[in-house]
Symmetry: C2
Subunit: 243 residues, 2 copies
């Protein structure tokens, strides 16, 4: 009889299916190149120089020690992500976002995060919600966020990502992570700006309180308004950030 081919284990070791589920996935050169290039792109300050940043396939393949083929596949993937754009017979250019695009992304982020907040009020556990406060435990009246902007900025990002994760919605998590990668292109310059930092912490605490109170509408509104506030800030003050 046609028994399903799935693990035709011999009778003796039928019950010894130890945790040997998958041996080394051994990521391909394509994926390695993708990760390497993605990190490199995110690390470089694209908005520092006026002239566009270009990539060279052959130079990359030589530097990474692989042929052009996996490099090109990685480039194709990065292009899908919107990080680069290849112009036929001209070169591969690292995409620079305009202020309008960044603002637009932040608005989308606000939409997704407010939905996450909504979901959290109905599903997350109380202790997990309260744990969100830990991200800011190093800040207080004696140690103001605006005096440690860089550190607060990291805590800020971590908080938002943890918040979204609480929604237990893979789609929301993935989409916001993608957006954050683009927005973080000029991390020091936006998220952690001193004048916004002052109002940021209280707003975060307000969100947490609404979540704990299971107030769906309020949590959604506070999450949305908080991030829309960032969008408005960038729109108003971000002019100098784009040379």
């Amino acid at each position: 009889m046609p028994e399903p081919k799935q693990t035709k284990a011999s009778p003796i070791m039928a019950d010894t299916d130890i945790a040997i589920v998958r041996i080394a996935p051994e990521t391909s050169f394509k994926n390695k190149a993708y990760e390497a290039l993605k990190e490199a792109i995110l690390k470089m300050d694209i908005y520092a120089t006026p002239e566009p940043v270009m990539l060279d396939e052959r130079a990359l393949s030589e530097r990474l020690g692989v042929s052009r083929t996996p490099i090109r596949e990685a480039i194709a993937m990065l292009e899908q992500d919107g990080f680069v754009k290849t112009v036929p017979r001209r070169g591969i250019v690292v995409v620079r976002r305009t202020k309008a695009e960044i603002v637009d992304m932040i608005r989308a982020w606000a939409a997704l995060e407010s939905m996450a907040a909504r979901l959290i009020t109905t599903t997350a556990r109380k202790k997990d919600i309260s744990a969100l406060r830990d991200f800011f435990k190093d800040f207080s009246d004696d140690r103001l966020p605006q005096d440690h902007v860089e550190e607060y900025s990291k805590a800020n990002i971590a908080f938002h990502q943890a918040l979204i994760s609480l929604s237990e919605s893979p789609v929301l998590v993935d989409l916001t992570n993608d957006l954050l990668l683009h927005v973080r292109g000029y991390r020091q310059l936006t998220i952690g700006r001193k004048d916004r930092t002052a109002t940021s912490l209280p707003e975060h605490l307000g969100i947490i309180e609404a979540l704990e109170a299971r107030d769906t509408e309020l949590a959604e509104k506070r999450a949305r308004d908080h991030t829309l506030g960032l969008a408005a800030y960038v729109e108003a003050h971000g002019q100098e950030l784009f040379t």
Copy 2:
């Protein structure tokens, strides 16, 4: 003789810069393959058969008349989109979404669309908003949507896409289009189900009215609740849709 192909204009016609802006972009085989495969994947009914749908690089390259290289690059792009997943030395499998994933996507869609509605109340022109009614002009009490499900389903999709477009937010437009492509995997089975169709039209009209009234909060709420309603419906009745 090799005449310069790029019309190096002589001084006489220096100011006669006619509309010769760009010659044929001539999309590459890579992009052609990407489009072709994407359409093919969306067209096939992935959820019809129990066994996973596989793709074969060599077969595809032969059928499309190109080598494997552009095919592989197209596959890499599709994998970034989440349409396929290549398993090393096993094959390329068309991804099948679970009910939970679809519901999750619809929720994200609801989030983005409600943000679009919010933006529309502050920026869109009245006449553009009112024009949204045209999508449903073929339906009335004499010609109920639930009696023309297929046709209404198309109008439904078109309405939602037009709605998002009114936000003039490229990010929202792109993200929702991507989500819709995945959700539409079983178009007839979800969006246009008869029992939901009856309540769909009034809700749409309600959204349009809120937009026209520039009632930001109400428009946002109606847009969100409408699409969340679909999510809830799929979650409740979608069991049979996944074999």
